[in-house]
């Protein structure tokens, strides 16, 4: 078993075993009650996502089923193929900086069409986890304290998004290629 597979299979179970054991034995935390208390919050988090996911998935499904996605892919393929970028990935990469739930919607659409274990599915998973919604963060963070002059922050945020697209491509090709 390669180190990558080992890490993938063991990291999460170890974390899930370690946290409550440490909390209970060392810190005397009532683990189950605390778990329930925290888990309650998950409901609201997901509920807030629902309208975004429905709205975006409707738009993305219409775009794909109508044949518009195919046209876009055919048009961009000669440009993207030499760079190792699957054209189906483009809508997600473009949406990532604008809307986190939007790119999540495209990711699930990719999972449905190509499977989560396809190269495209792995690439989309990596991309979704490796970046954040720049324009949202920018608006909320600066907006909350009344910053109007963002200096170079927008430029850095968007370039960092480009970097995460490239990084996701490189790493996915390297590990799963």
């Amino acid at each position: 078993m390669s180190i990558v597979q080992w890490f993938a299979s063991w990291s999460l179970p170890l974390i899930i075993a370690f946290i409550p054991t440490y909390a209970f034995l060392i810190k005397k935390v009532p683990v189950y009650d605390t778990f329930i208390d925290g888990a309650k919050g998950g409901f609201g988090t997901v509920l807030k996502l629902l309208p975004h996911l429905v709205g975006m998935l409707v738009a993305v499904t219409v775009f794909r089923e109508s044949g518009a996605m195919e046209l876009l892919i055919k048009a961009l393929n000669p440009l993207l193929q030499p760079l190792g970028v699957p054209p189906e990935f483009l809508p997600m990469a473009l949406l990532r900086s604008i809307s986190g739930s939007g790119s999540m919607a495209v990711m699930t659409d990719i999972f449905q069409a190509h499977g989560p274990d396809s190269f495209l599915g792995r690439l989309a998973s990596t991309m979704q986890g490796a970046s954040d919604t720049t324009l949202y963060v920018l608006t909320v963070y600066f907006g909350s304290v009344g910053i109007k002059k963002a200096r170079y922050a927008v430029k850095v945020g968007l370039l960092a998004d480009l970097a995460s697209v490239i990084a996701a491509l490189l790493v996915t090709h390297w590990i799963f290629g």
């Binding site: 974390i15 946290i19 998950g42 109508s66 979704q128 600066f142 304290v145 200096r151 998004d161 990084a167």
Partner: protein
């Protein structure tokens, strides 16, 4: 921006369907898309509820704070303009830890608190300070150790190894965040060379 993209996706889809003589597809796609949205949420619910519960246990056990202590030296390096024992540093570190653990909803309020505390140190109230730009750069490049929601969705769509993307995410997020930090420093240095920030 998001408004324009949403509209373009929807309208181009409908127009292309009409041209292809497949207008019937649209109604079906709308219904299927909406249904898909609800199904995705149902799937997410399971993993997010579990993860938030587990992270609450981690928080109560002081493990989130331990992670914060671990990354404190890194924060000192990233935010040289913030005084050593200023409360902003605590919020910055807490925000970073929450992001790393995939607790987006907990990270945002912590990040906003850090912003407020940085604003107290900011001499020009309507202009972003150096530290604010760095906080933004790090938050937009998304430092994640455990992408819990992505794992949950992969599981829902029948992945044989839903966690296999943990390592690729880790490497990609590290590369992206390093790039963001370098770009942040680079543009700041360039601004200084040009004689400071100008209107």
């Amino acid at each position: 921006m998001i408004n324009v993209i949403w509209l373009i996706l929807l309208v181009t889809g409908i127009v292309v369907a009409a041209i292809n003589g497949r207008i019937d597809v649209v109604t079906e796609a709308v219904l299927n898309g909406a249904k898909q949205g609800v199904i995705v949420c149902a799937g997410l619910l399971s993993i997010v509820v579990f993860w938030m519960g587990l992270m609450k246990v981690a928080e109560e056990a002081g493990l989130v704070q331990s992670l914060a202590k671990l990354i404190y030296p890194l924060a000192r390096f990233l935010y040289p303009s913030v005084p050593k024992n200023h409360p902003a540093m605590g919020s910055i570190v807490a925000n970073m830890s929450a992001n790393m653990l995939g607790l987006g909803s907990a990270a945002t309020p912590l990040g906003l608190k850090a912003m407020q505390q940085l604003q107290e140190l900011n001499p020009h109230k309507d202009r972003a300070s150096d530290a604010m730009c760095t906080l933004l750069a790090i938050n937009t490049s998304g430092l994640t150790i455990i992408p819990a929601t992505v794992i949950g969705l992969r599981l829902q769509y029948g992945s044989a190894r839903p966690t296999e993307i943990v390592i690729t995410t880790l490497l990609a997020t590290f590369l992206a965040t390093t790039t963001a930090v370098i770009l942040d420093r680079y543009f700041r240095a360039r601004e200084r060379r040009k004689g400071g920030w100008q209107e």
